[in-house]
């Protein structure tokens, strides 16, 4: 193996570092028009009238579309808007500055309706209905059960009840969403800052009644997504429709304030729990309900369910019943955000462990040791089977490698000098990878290779990692491999980059494609040389003769032998389970409650690490997002449904000054997955582990001043800390 496992810098950086990467707002087409949206200032309102008479008289305005325009436009469905920021109308102009003048000229008559902002309010029998076609605001309700939880609770020595709430997070990718669409009368092309160009293509084709073969969706460089760009948004269909009807290219790029209200939010899950444990610290049963504050539309299916099904975490809990409930409210719709239910699951179970440890008077490390799963594969109580691993060893090695006990001793020493330092850790297992993925690989006549992947990287460096994987499989220098992504012209269908699946699903598909290609070329070689060849390092050999890949390819193009020079592989990528231990240290200012993250260390078993430089980048970046969830960020609404944190000035995405120092470790004896790559995925692991590690660290710090204090929600703000300590 020459490339896999090496910290190779990215091939993508050539474009990115020169400022030449094309993001959607860099797409310029002749005659391009600019679209914008009139958006509801109300969280809940009937839309009585939309008047375009003024705006259509404004110079520079080309068209306006509203509720009166039928499908595929779908403004204010049911005659109302359900969240502040929901689009009511669309205006298309020749100039992006005129656009914002024009938007103000659309006159909308609203009849404000009472809004529900809180799950408890939304669940009341007399609550206003977000979706009038439902009898209430519960849009999803499913119970996951295994074993005999009621009996286990009865037989438990202690029963511990509690609640943990996570806040609403605004994913805040540095690039707001945007779309460009163009129709030349034959083919509709759409560029979108998306993770899912295949879905965009399907939805747009369906909406416009075009065959897929005449719709091309392009994912240009995307400035971050974190799960907030993995659904097809209405704007993508609307902008495509406008381009189709107006027969001119149309561009829409969200302003940040607009993006904050219209790009899906994350987290906002709450767990009410009741767990039973034995006196010696074994968790016998975990029961409860996970509530998802789903927002105005149920676009984020499965978040509460994932949190429920992964709630047992890496622990051997044999009895359980968790109900997953999604409740509609008049807020921006909820959907995936880095981890999508697994950060919540890990946060919940880690907090439960600490709660039970407190009740039993047990050490936090010890209780986990008592409960960690010892034998894998392991089917958890809700039917999820964890594949490979060794949790107890990882736990022990991780704590040691990360210096957990040294840090605790250091914190004790510093306390004597008046510094209040808290140290925390977390243990996790997480579920990554799903579905299928497509790779198309072509052998070029000069011995180079072109890979078209259906993956949709947006910062991960997958073009580099895939080239490494392919270079090893094909035994050729990495420079001979070029990876393309993000264009439905390259590949017919796929899923994309999300759920920490890419290197596993996309990498394995690439490996399969490479193997198929080698078989094809071997077949052609057999024809050319008259014997079954052996392949090594780009050369086929048999019977004392040899040919290079180049020569075989040229021969095939000249009709001298038959082979598929372009092969496709569709790989079914079942779930796999990375796991690990993370440690955090924070410093608390007792007088003000301010908490500063000092350091963050991770120890992860993600199976094979294709590129440790890139994997560490994911671990560090992911960690800060989880740290930010613990300490800084929160989307706040007032009782009328106004988003009080409407932009980056008021929503606390951390700066370099808030970041801790990080140290990343990968397991020395990793447990590979069963996939051809042997990988398990890393994209979300750190985000999953970091919030509970920091929460424990803050609680640890607070308990130096006030024993028994417990954190039961995120974020834990300075004011929260101050209140706890009074």
């Amino acid at each position: 193996m020459k490339y896999v496992g090496r910290p190779i810098p990215r091939v993508e950086d050539e474009l990115i570092l020169r400022g030449k990467a094309t993001y959607v707002d860099d797409v310029e087409l002749p005659g391009m028009l600019y679209a914008g949206f009139v958006r509801s200032p109300y969280a809940h309102a009937r839309v009585l009238k939309v008047d375009f008479s003024d705006v259509l008289k404004t110079p520079g305005v080309v068209a306006a579309f509203g509720p009166g325009d039928g499908e595929p436009f779908s403004f204010a469905p049911g005659g109302k808007v359900r969240y502040q920021g929901e689009a009511v109308a669309m205006v298309v102009t020749r100039d992006r500055y005129v656009l914002y003048d024009a938007l103000e000229k659309v006159a909308v008559d609203y009849e404000p309706l009472p809004a529900v902002l809180d799950i408890n309010d939304a669940l009341r029998p007399d609550a206003p209905l977000v979706d009038e076609s439902l009898g209430n605001n519960v849009v999803h309700d499913k119970v996951y059960e295994g074993g005999d939880p009621d009996r286990a609770l009865k037989e438990a020595d202690v029963v511990v009840e509690g609640r943990f709430a996570t806040q609403r997070i605004i994913p805040s990718a540095m690039e707001p969403r945007g779309v460009v669409a163009a129709y030349d009368g034959d083919v509709l092309t759409i560029w979108s800052s998306t993770q899912v160009p295949f879905d965009v293509r399907k939805e747009v084709a369906k909406a416009l009644g075009l065959p897929l073969s005449r719709v091309r969706a392009i994912q240009p460089f995307v400035g971050g997504a974190f799960g907030s760009k993995l659904l097809v948004y209405p704007e993508e269909v609307w902008v495509a429709t406008a381009a189709y009807r107006l027969k001119a290219p149309v561009k829409w790029v969200a302003t940040r304030s607009e993006d904050f209200k219209t790009t899906t939010h994350g987290r906002a899950l709450t767990l009410e729990y009741k767990v039973g444990a034995s006196r010696d610290g074994r968790i016998l049963a975990v029961t409860g309900t996970v509530y998802a504050d789903a927002g105005a539309y149920y676009w984020g299916e499965g978040l509460a369910d994932t949190a429920a099904q992964m709630l047992p975490g890496p622990y051997d809990i044999r009895h359980g019943r968790v109900r997953a409930v999604a409740v509609l409210t008049n807020k921006t719709p909820l959907s995936a955000y880095r981890g999508a239910g697994r950060p919540e699951a890990t946060l919940f179970i880690e907090r439960i462990m600490d709660h039970v440890a407190d009740v039993l008077g047990m050490d936090r490390v010890e209780i986990r040791g008592r409960n960690l799963i010892r034998q894998l594969p392991y089917r958890n109580v809700f039917g999820i089977t964890y594949d490979t691993g060794d949790y107890p060893t990882a736990f022990e090695r991780g704590l040691e490698r990360l210096g957990y006990r040294d840090l605790k001793r250091w914190a004790d020493e510093e306390a004597k000098r008046g510094r209040i330092i808290g140290v925390g850790f977390s243990v996790y297992v997480e579920i990554t990878t799903f579905g299928y993925e497509t790779a198309v690989l072509r052998a070029e006549r000069d011995g180079s290779f072109t890979l078209y992947t259906a993956l949709t990287p947006h910062g991960q460096g997958l073009a580099t990692a895939l080239a490494q994987v392919l270079a090893d499989e094909l035994e050729v220098p990495m420079e001979r491999i070029k990876v393309y992504w993000g264009d439905t012209a390259y590949v017919g269908d796929g899923i994309g980059t999300m759920g920490s699946r890419s290197i596993t699903a996309g990498g394995s598909a690439a490996i399969l494609a490479a193997r198929r290609l080698k078989e094809e070329l071997a077949k052609a070689t057999e024809k050319l040389l008259g014997c079954k060849p052996v392949y090594s390092g780009g050369i086929f050999q048999c019977g004392g003769n040899s040919v290079t890949i180049e020569e075989v390819v040229k021969a095939v193009y000249r009709g001298k032998a038959e082979a598929q020079l372009t092969v496709e592989a569709i790989y079914r990528a079942d779930a796999t389970f990375p796991f690990g231990v993370h440690v955090a240290a924070v410093e608390l200012d007792p007088e003000t409650g301010f908490v500063r993250p000092l350091l963050y260390r991770s120890y992860d078993d993600v199976g094979v690490v294709v590129n440790p430089l890139l994997a560490a980048g994911q671990a560090i970046g992911g960690a800060l997002q989880g740290i930010a969830q613990a300490l800084y960020e929160e989307a706040v609404y007032d009782e009328s449904g106004n988003l009080l944190t409407p932009n980056l000035a008021f929503y606390y995405v951390p700066t370099a000054a808030e970041a801790p120092r990080y140290e990343v470790h990968f397991a020395d004896e990793p447990h590979p997955s069963k996939h051809p790559t042997g990988t398990k995925g890393i994209g979300e692991a750190a985000t999953i582990a970091s919030t509970p590690a920091v929460v424990m660290a803050v609680e640890d710090a607070m308990r130096r001043l006030k024993p028994g204090v417990r954190i039961d929600e995120t974020p834990i703000t300075p004011e929260d800390v101050w209140r706890h300590l009074r």
Partner: protein
């Protein structure tokens, strides 16, 4: 209003509406590295050097920049190439959207002679990054600054 901008050493004379933001004029002139990431002058993706200082070009009217000497992340000289090399080796870019702002700010810090990690962090604190967690960026700048 007619204004003159010298961008990366090249003189441009353009006629702009007073309300036009510098970032949009720069992008229309072809300097696509300058990016718009927010509307409250918080994120710093639009950071360029103007008369030797880092400024948020989304928070400057083009008419205010009349006669100014501007450098963007499209620029190349020895220091900028050192920074690019360091960014690459340290994996200081992921999605790349903040990278222009980080590069121009880093360029300013290195040319000014930044003296400590603390100063680097302070200097970079006006550019938000959602992907990297900042550490690799800080290390890349420290390396070029000789820290």
């Amino acid at each position: 209003m007619k204004i003159a901008l010298r961008v990366n050493g090249v003189l441009h004379e353009v006629d702009v509406e007073p309300r036009k933001l510098l970032v949009h004029v720069l992008r229309e002139l072809g300097y696509k590295s300058v990016r718009v990431g927010c509307d409250t002058a918080t994120c710093g993706s639009c950071t360029v050097l103007m008369d030797g200082r880092p400024v948020k070009s989304c928070n400057v009217l083009a008419v205010q920049a009349d006669g100014a000497e501007i450098y963007t992340a499209d620029y190349s000289d020895e220091v900028m190439e050192k920074l690019r090399g360091a960014f690459r080796r340290h994996h200081a870019a992921q999605c790349g959207f903040c990278t222009s702002g980080m590069l121009t700010t880093a360029y300013y810090l290195v040319r000014r002679g930044v003296k400590s990690e603390e100063e680097v962090v302070e200097g970079l604190s006006g550019v938000l990054c959602r992907c990297t967690g900042y550490q690799n960026i800080i290390n890349a700048v420290k390396e070029v600054a000789g820290l």
